[in-house]
Symmetry: C3
Subunit: 151 residues, 3 copies
């Protein structure tokens, strides 16, 4: 365990997991940015900049750009958190550094490209493919966890 | 720590956490399956199979079957991730193997049944009960974490 | 590792992470409470208390109080889970106990206040500020993880 936790694999996992979680967290300020530029809010107390009651009402709506960023954020929650959980357990199974780095880099790269493909948006199947590649990396690590721990 | 991490409790936790996270991840392909069979999408770039602009518009709608799978996925996020976090901390408190296995199996079993009860759907209170049983297992582990770490 | 995992920092992390995850989990029963008192459900099988088919239909609607609690829960998922992931990696970098406690307490305090500010609701910018303070604590820990692991 001492070796595993200070191993290069664990340091690599820490770095890539932090990067991809920070990327996920940046979807919140991006949502806020779109809410303020589109003047589109979900809570009545957020419409303080409105001058008239009609303005207030108009600001409480659903905007397609805001919803797009929120769907991207939701997809991150659904994919990045499983990566972090399974990636940590995978790291503790003591994989080769090069194999582990391949998994971490493919996943993080696929999610960065997924965000670009979702927010711009790029034509399909770019978003679909990046989503599948990320899932594949996590499934591959899960397979190793299950085959290692089921002694 | 060495003992804790290579302990049978930790191996059991790795296995059950991976299984239940994989189950959660499978909600994504299930959503995709319902989106394609119902021809119901959230993004305009996903409606490439449409032949006319009217077809495109018709595909950008909300479908009750898709929404049901998405609510089930959301409920998984709200319950399975707390289980993983608290379960890991619980594992590190060094519980008995049999007690730990009971918690892990009750939780994983309740969530498998919860998905069946939600997607079919089964009549209530089956879904409500499975949700409560899963929550109970997580609360019980959280209680042990708090009473062990608060020395 | 032995030292790190039984360190006071790790015990403190376990306690604060469990508290804030339990707080997040309590949003589920709070949603259920509002659904039952407002008689507002998302699934047709949940409307068993309805006496007539019209009643059933009326119960399948969107209620602003329920949606407010759900948005608060979603914000918790988007912020508390990154805290747990990055906080665990941060704990393993061996920070000072007092610095670590400062991060954990600021984060947990900000999220408790965030929930109050969201659910009541309190006038802005109280909710916005608590959200930013929590994010700041997580970013600060992420900075240390990245600067420590990138040897």
């Amino acid at each position: 365990m001492h070796d595993d936790f200070y191993s290069e694999v664990f340091l690599a996992f820490s770095t890539y997991a932090t990067i991809v979680v920070l990327k996920m967290m940046l979807m919140s300020p991006m949502t806020a940015y779109f809410r303020f530029t589109r003047k589109c809010f979900a809570n009545v107390e957020d419409t303080g900049m409105a001058k008239t009651p009609e303005d207030k009402k108009r600001m409480l709506r659903v905007d397609p750009d805001v919803e797009r960023v929120r769907r991207c954020h939701q997809n991150d929650l659904e994919n990045i958190i499983p990566f972090v959980v399974i990636g940590l357990l995978y790291t503790l199974t003591g994989p080769d550094l090069s194999t582990a780095l391949l998994h971490f880099r493919v996943f993080v790269g696929s999610r960065l490209f997924h965000t670009v493909a979702y927010v711009l948006p790029l034509p399909q199947p770019s978003r679909g493919l990046t989503w599948m590649v990320g899932m594949g990396a996590t499934f591959s690590m899960a397979f190793r966890v299950l085959s290692t721990t089921h002694l």
